[in-house]
Amino acid sequence: MRNCHNILISNKIYLFFLFLLLTNQNFAQENQKPDSLSNAETSNLLMLSLSYTSNNMKTKNYEYDRIPAILTNISFFSKKGFFGALDYTKFYLAKQNTYEAELQFGYQKSFFKNLHLQTNFARRTFVGDTTYEGLAQKNTLALDANYTWKFLDFQVSNSFLNGKSNNYFLDLDLSASIDFDNLLTENDFLLINPTVSTSFGTDNWIFQNMSPAFENIVVNYLSRNGFESHTFEYQSFNIYVPIIYNIGNWGFMFNWFYSWPSAKLSKLSWQDQSGVLVSVYFTPKI
């Protein structure tokens, strides 16, 4: 089972690299920006967005296998590198008023043009039907590092989550920035940002809502099937394909995503997660 899973992931990575190779020739030129651009003065940026996600979560254990939501986001990026964001997510299919809100602030600093470090802290509140809650974290501390090489972007994300259980996640992302400027006017661009992401993490969150007796049953079941519990391990392989068209102060995004859980999570009846996220955003001049 594990071998099959690994072969599947290898094939997916191979296809992604093949895609990158095919697109490399076309987009290498697009990404050769004049140096003077990086010297042009940037200003503060405010971004307001409204999104809809279909998020199909095929989990046999849950009553709901679809968790669509409406998301609103206000983000502010200062030219000094500080940023803040407020996210509000409404789960409109829930029988009772169910939403989550997250306040985030952080700092980003670039080194040697290609290396970007970012740290942020987020505080989250969830209200309503806990079936929709997912991972129940209250505080998140994240530290990300990005390295940009030509049109490729390598990212290492570390996040420490504190809540019903304490967890640490490590995400390794590889994305391609394929962008076309001045398509219809001198003020627009098209950005395609396919990303593959491999997630590792602790599994304490799996047991967060279980009684000690039930937790023992699950731990034994996993053990009989050759899986360890309360460990740090590979958890999922994910693909995101955001396509963004921006004209002036307005932008539209279509983001398709798919996630394959690890063999261990699959054994616990987690199945694939997929969906689309459609967004419209506004970046007023301030």
Binding site: E41, S43, S49, N73, D179, L191, S199, Y240, Q273
Partner: protein, 83 residues
């Protein structure tokens, strides 16, 4: 018969004639624009060129900033929920 000839003539004119007329008017426009540009003093011309380059750089810088913000925002980065 006359009507047919008239239609054919009109078609030939529209295919061959109109684009030429259009091209001529465009050339005329370009010539006029060129003469307008020529009449601008060299110092002002340089200033306009510098201003235009500066505007392009500002637009390009803002585009870069928006691209970076979109890439790092939650709408493109983490639509997948951890459970």
């Amino acid at each position: 018969m006359r009507l047919t000839k008239a239609i054919i003539a009109l078609l030939i004119f529209s295919v061959l004639g109109l684009p030429n007329v259009f091209a001529q008017s465009q050339t005329k426009g370009i010539t006029e624009k060129k003469s307008e540009v020529k009449s601008v003093p060299p110092a002002a011309k340089n200033k306009t060129a510098i201003q235009s380059t500066a505007n392009q750089q500002i637009i390009a810088a803002r585009k870069q900033q928006i691209k970076k913000a979109v890439r790092s925002s939650s709408i493109s980065k983490r639509p997948i929920r951890r459970r």
